[in-house]
């Protein structure tokens, strides 16, 4: 079992599996349409300074999300 962390808290460069997404139906679907769903393997690519956005790799593509949303995505880090 790996450690549970949010996308915001994860170290850049680490991989993990999405275990839980907090938030309503609308947010869940928006994330799903970009490939962020429970069970998906992701890699954190970058974290912008000054509470800027987080960039993650999923399905071989890159997604940028705000830090607030990233704090709602829980990942089991490898």
């Amino acid at each position: 079992m790996g450690e549970f962390q949010t996308l915001a808290g994860m170290v850049v460069g680490k991989e993990g599996t999405i275990k839980k997404i907090e938030g309503g139906y609308g947010l869940q679907r928006r994330l799903a349409c970009l490939g962020l769903r429970v069970g998906k393997t992701i890699r954190k690519v970058a974290s912008e300074p000054l509470r800027g956005p987080i960039v993650v790799e999923v399905d071989g593509g890159h997604i940028a999300i705000g830090r607030g949303v990233a704090e709602k995505v829980w990942v089991e880090v490898k």
């Binding site: 850049v12 609308g26 679907r29 970058a46």
Partner: protein, 565 residues
């Protein structure tokens, strides 16, 4: 008959659109909204049919303006070409399944087929066709591969007959993907390494500065050379004709309107202020070269996939201004022309964001037409003055944004977007976009330049300029330290900023005066074309607020510059 091109953002829809349609393409707004889409025609069953490039969406749930429009357009269409990114089959299928739940014929296009191959992704399209029950073709739109097959198989498009709940949809997608897609391991490519380097702050910020520097170097290089080697030589043929015409007219009112004043017995395209001298030279030879250069580079930045990366990098700063990263695109567009810049603020989610973005752009982002003339007016005193002008505008942009964000209540939503891989732009789509933008510049700018020049002449003839000069003297001369005659530029600035800055040239301003005048002209009010758009976008009340901020801030900043320089 209407054929709709639908798909997620960044799947190469516009390239397919470009391939299917001819040159007769227009960009228009969906009625009653500010969402823009492209419209063209193609031949289908011996008939001319309309092809609409619907804004890119991830689903048919209307959660944003673009999605609302997509859903509405879907109701009016007769057939959908669903463009799918082969490298992201899974998430693209969500929209595909939703389309197959509607009663409209669908054909699925697996675009970016080559990119998928490079990424080690293999898709069994015959199997996918069987499962979906509609035709599936693969394309490499950039190279034109598969477009013929797409056209041939349009006939076969048919509606799906699915009925799925949200959960069933994702389950079905999972099943489909596991049946038709194989992914093989492979190494990261150079473009992916570069892609990541340009969003990581440590490498990304230097890259961004490099890109910006290169952008403006290219714009200056292309603009200057077009003027020296193309437009000025062309005008050397034009000048003798105008001189003959000038002699023919003799002196008098008509001569003053058409040719304007002769400077030392000769035509001076910046100072003569005639309809067929300054009125023709300014838009074509002084401004068009820079507008052309700007849109050429911007199109490349857009289609290569760099802009989303820039948006991610500047998101934190933009957030402090009450905006998010995507608003940088509005600002860049505004550097070309404030009108498309103002229109592009529509994609921002909230009214508050739109107000801040539009106000900041109108006040502190000089358009290319204005910049071109400022380069001439201030640039003749050296680079130092130019630096002051643009740094002042940047400080105004930043400070005003910080203040507006503080005093206007409300949240600013976070960034939420896909970063497409770097791609080499398809020159056909680039040229088409460049042409559309140049055309709209000419259509919008030339009449206003002519009108501006015409009004200047009338105002002079009636003595109104002199009168305005007298009554505004305390402000113009007192606070801003400009000669009285500069007031005419402020009046004309409402019509066209380029003509207005150009009118300052004959006044023989000192560097300080040229800097103050350029900054004040940039800030005090938008030109009439931008003003009209902003009234539509922000409403009368919003625009009034915005305009008050502009006038007050322009006087304030102008006075300060006058005092400290």
């Amino acid at each position: 008959m209407k054929i709709l091109l639908m798909g997620n953002p960044n799947v190469g829809k516009s390239v397919i659109f470009s391939r299917l349609t001819g040159t007769n393409v227009i960009a228009s707004n969906y009625p009653g909204t500010t969402v823009e889409f492209m419209k063209g025609t193609m031949k289908f069953r011996e008939e001319k049919v309309e092809v609409l490039d619907v804004p890119g969406v991830y689903s048919l749930e209307p959660t944003s303006k673009a999605e609302e429009v997509a859903v509405k357009m879907l109701e009016e269409g007769n057939m959908v070409i669903n463009v799918v990114d082969s490298t992201h089959l899974e998430r693209n299928l969500y929209l595909t399944l939703q389309l197959l739940e509607r009663k409209i014929p669908v054909i699925v296009v697996l675009n970016l087929w080559d990119e998928a191959k490079h990424k080690g992704i293999e898709i069994d399209k015959e199997k996918l066709e069987k499962i979906l029950g509609v035709p599936v073709v693969s394309t490499v739109a950039i190279a034109g591969e598969g477009i013929n097959e797409l056209v041939l198989r349009l006939e076969e498009a048919k509606p799906g007959n699915l009925k799925l709940s949200e959960e069933e949809r994702w389950k079905k997608i999972g099943e489909i993907v596991s049946q038709v897609q194989r992914v093989y391991h492979r190494h990261h490519t150079f473009s992916e390494v570069l892609g990541e380097a340009s969003v990581k702050p440590l490498t990304g910020i230097p890259i961004a500065l490099g890109v910006m520097f290169l952008t403006f170097t290219i714009i200056r290089f292309v603009g200057e050379n077009l003027i020296s080697y193309v437009f000025d030589p062309l005008f050397e043929f034009y000048t003798p004709i105008v001189i003959i015409f000038s002699h023919f007219l003799g002196s008098g009112f008509i001569h003053d309107i058409l040719i304007g004043q002769l400077i030392n017995g000769e035509i001076d395209y910046f100072q003569s202020m005639g309809l067929i001298t300054t009125g023709i030279y300014v838009p074509f030879a002084a401004v068009l070269p820079y507008v052309f250069a700007f849109y050429l580079v911007l199109g490349f930045l857009e289609d290569s996939g760099y802009l989303p990366r820039l948006a991610v990098l500047v998101d934190n700063v933009m957030h402090k201004l009450g905006l998010h990263g995507s608003a940088i695109v509005s600002m860049l567009l505004g550097l070309g022309c404030n009108v498309p810049g103002a229109l592009s603020t529509r994609v921002l989610e909230t009214k508050r964001q739109r107000f801040i973005a539009a106000t900041l752009m109108a006040i502190a982002v000089p358009c290319m037409a204005q910049t071109a003339i400022i380069l001439g007016l201030v640039g003749m005193h050296g680079a130092f003055g130019l630096g002051i002008v643009f740094i002042t505008l940047f400080i105004v942009w930043l400070t005003l944004g910080l203040i507006l964000n503080k005093i206007m209540g409300g949240e600013s939503p976070e960034i939420f977007m896909e970063i497409p891989p770097y791609r080499i732009p398809y020159w056909g789509a680039l040229l088409k976009k460049l042409w559309i933008r140049i055309r709209s510049f000419l259509v919008e700018a030339v009449p206003f330049v002519l009108l501006g020049v015409f009004i200047v002449n009338i105002l002079y003839a009636l003595g109104i300029i002199q009168f305005l000069g007298e009554i505004t003297a305390p402000i113009v001369t007192g606070l801003l330290g400009l000669p009285k005659e500069a007031v005419v530029a402020l009046v004309i600035g409402f019509l066209r900023k380029d003509v207005a800055v150009g009118m300052l040239l004959p006044l023989g301003l000192t560097m300080k005066q040229a800097v103050v005048a350029s900054v004040v002209l940039a800030m005090y009010f938008p030109c009439i074309a931008t003003f009209t758009v902003l009234v539509k976008e922000l409403g009368i009340l919003g625009m009034t607020k915005s305009a008050l901020i502009m006038v007050a801030l322009a006087l304030f900043v102008g006075t300060i510059l006058n005092l400290i320089l």
